[in-house]
Subunit: 396 residues, 2 copies
């Protein structure tokens, strides 16, 4: 008998299932197929690097527990990391894995038929990373009586407001993020190999604090230098050393039990050029003013509008969204794909939401980033990380 | 003007495009949409942690260069990391990102229409991680004149035979993997925090060698201990220290310019129980005999059959596949999803293929792993990593 290793109380898991079933009911969805590993983890606790093969969770309005399915050799992972009972764990034989002759969704369709769930209105994550076009086609072929609805965001919206226990893990993640960021800021200097900084940051993410360790982060440390900072998602160069005149961007996050806390800062090696100095001043000032402005009841677009107002007359523009909801996540993204701080997002902020305010500026030949992850509180918002808001410089 | 930073010659990239177009032509595919980041990188060099938003490459039989599309703020990444000319880079505005009102595939459909490619037989990665059901539905709606074919494996099959330049990077990755594995085997002992081993391994993966650095690996180090070794894809426990009597599995890989070399070993803390000792002896012996047996011209299933013969009469069974093709990869998997060493796989081995022979055994309460990544050579096969094949023990 394998011992279960859970990170939340049974009450909390049950509450999550109830909230998801309420959302299903409101949307007229009787059966929900989740294959996103964060959604699976949220409802069941299941946590393994097994999402490179098909796996998922079925939630039916008329069954108390979600039903896990995955590769047979990963079933013990479900027994250990999820709260589910034995009868809620269904492993499929290995010949389904990446087969040219059958498909895992046929196994899933059989599960659905055996339980009398064919014909139900079935929600699927139409635009999720893990729900392929082929999976959808197979389900349609195997379950001609079922109808399907797009439920990509159903669980992420439930996840968008965090419990106290979740916030505690996010705070622990933020403490690790601070350590990783400090490691990078202290270490980056002219002549240092970029790879050594990335290695030290990776180690800091996992080593955590004296009291607890971190988890693998959903986004590998993004640490571009020089011209590579003119793009948003390049990282360190494995064969280069920092040079005088480099801008180095740091977009780092650490995770605790898969709960993340992202943070961005910028380092400059040498005497800061006037134009970069100006960008930094404008961004840091706007960041502080916007954080002061945030409070529950405002909409996501009102926050972005206020930020845009801070840029007015400075000549600096930020044409992309300036923030997003984050939390429980797996690769490739710690964002929750729900709240975006941008024009048109009518989400009303409420206490318990965690948002990365990320006003990254990418100009033609370099970028500047200074961001803050924050928690919406009853009275405003609270920064989750404690790290100086400045353009760090090394005079070397 | 941003400088390009390419890892292969232009001849090699052009040869790759020619090989893919030949495969398209043979399958009657006129236009190919690739969204898998490894396929994108293979053809264009593009390399960024931007695959959490929609991006891709369009290959048309009647256009010399592939056409990259992605988020506007990632376009400079394409200018720097790909060999593509300016007219082959199309950035989309930020309002397409995770929108509730439009979809990136509408931008892509417009690209296709502008170039007169609507109505073409279009290959898509139906069962890839990155091609969602919604993407496929949008394309069908926007391009009613086009017909679609499943081309999930088209580029991966071209990738399955590696060039000399690719093999050189895989050898560099293997050298890093050896260092990461040595770090872990030396460090694991009773009383050591599991997180500290995972941190040191993560750092070793990136720090690389004196001469070159590594890249983020497509699979986070899988280092379960004790009962967690009874499942295939659990990793270290962030709050636990190793205890006497632990089995510790190590499934690690390092990457060089995204080219991987995976390797597995096992450590036991204490006096090895007889049943584990027997499993180890059988697996290590069968591994060696099977590697001696492998040569070009054999099929993948014949290799597995030979391995299974090595287990005969030992009482040990291995019901899952025992290996797979690996190489250029991004999260969540370094496997190429083409060749599998298992019954029914008729792939004929040929020189230049790189395969991870991975006879992992997961029993009810623990597992054992000892694997080898190998290159098929004209005369047989060559181990890519040099690491002792044994059950490592600490007497502590």
């Amino acid at each position: 008998m394998l011992r279960k290793d859970l990170h939340f109380s049974m009450d909390e898991y049950r509450q999550r299932v109830r909230a998801v079933k309420a959302a299903m009911d409101h949307q007229g969805i009787e059966l929900l197929l989740l294959v996103d590993p964060a959604n699976m983890n949220y409802l069941t606790g299941y946590d393994g690097w097994s999402f490179y093969v098909h796996q998922g969770v079925l939630v039916s309005l008329d069954r108390e527990e979600p039903l896990w399915f995955g590769r047979q050799q990963d079933s013990n992972g479900a027994r250990i990391t999820s709260w589910l009972a034995e009868e809620s764990i269904a492993g499929y034989p290995d010949h389904y894995v990446q087969s040219r002759y059958t498909h895992t969704m046929r196994f899933v369709a059989d599960l659905i038929k055996e339980r009398g769930w064919e014909g139900r209105k079935t929600g699927v994550e139409m635009d999720g990373y893990w729900f392929s076009a082929r999976m959808f086609r197979e389900l349609n072929e195997q379950l001609p009586g079922s109808s399907f609805a797009d439920a990509t965001s159903l669980v992420p919206w439930v996840r968008s407001v965090k419990s106290e226990a979740e916030i505690a893990y996010i705070r622990q993640a933020a403490a690790i993020t601070e350590k990783a960021m400090r490691t990078a800021v202290d270490m980056i200097d002219t002549g240092i190999p970029e790879k050594d900084v990335a290695a030290a940051v990776s180690a800091a993410q996992i080593a955590g604090t004296e009291e607890y360790g971190g988890d693998s982060s959903a986004i590998f440390p993004i640490i571009p230098s020089a011209e590579r900072t003119s793009s948003a998602h390049l990282t360190f160069h494995p064969d280069r050393r920092y040079q005088k005149g480099d801008v180095v961007l740091l977009e780092l996050g650490a995770a605790r039990y898969r709960y993340h806390a992202p943070l961005s800062r910028t380092v400059y090696l040498g005497s800061v050029p006037e134009d970069l100095k100006k960008v930094a001043d404008v961004v840091v000032s706007g960041l502080g003013r916007t954080l002061d402005f945030i409070q529950p009841g405002l909409t996501a677009e009102e926050v972005e509008e206020y930020w845009r107002g801070c840029l007015k007359g400075t000549g600096i523009e930020k044409p992309s969204r300036v923030g997003y909801s984050f939390g429980l996540a797996y690769v490739p993204d710690w964002g929750e794909h729900t709240i975006s701080l941008r024009p048109g997002d009518k989400t009303v902020l409420e206490p318990g939401m965690t948002i990365h305010f990320m006003p990254g500026i990418w100009l033609d030949t370099y970028g500047f980033e200074c961001s803050e992850p924050f928690l919406v509180t009853p009275g405003g918002c609270e920064k989750l990380a404690d790290f100086p808001q400045e353009l760090f410089t090394k005079k070397s």
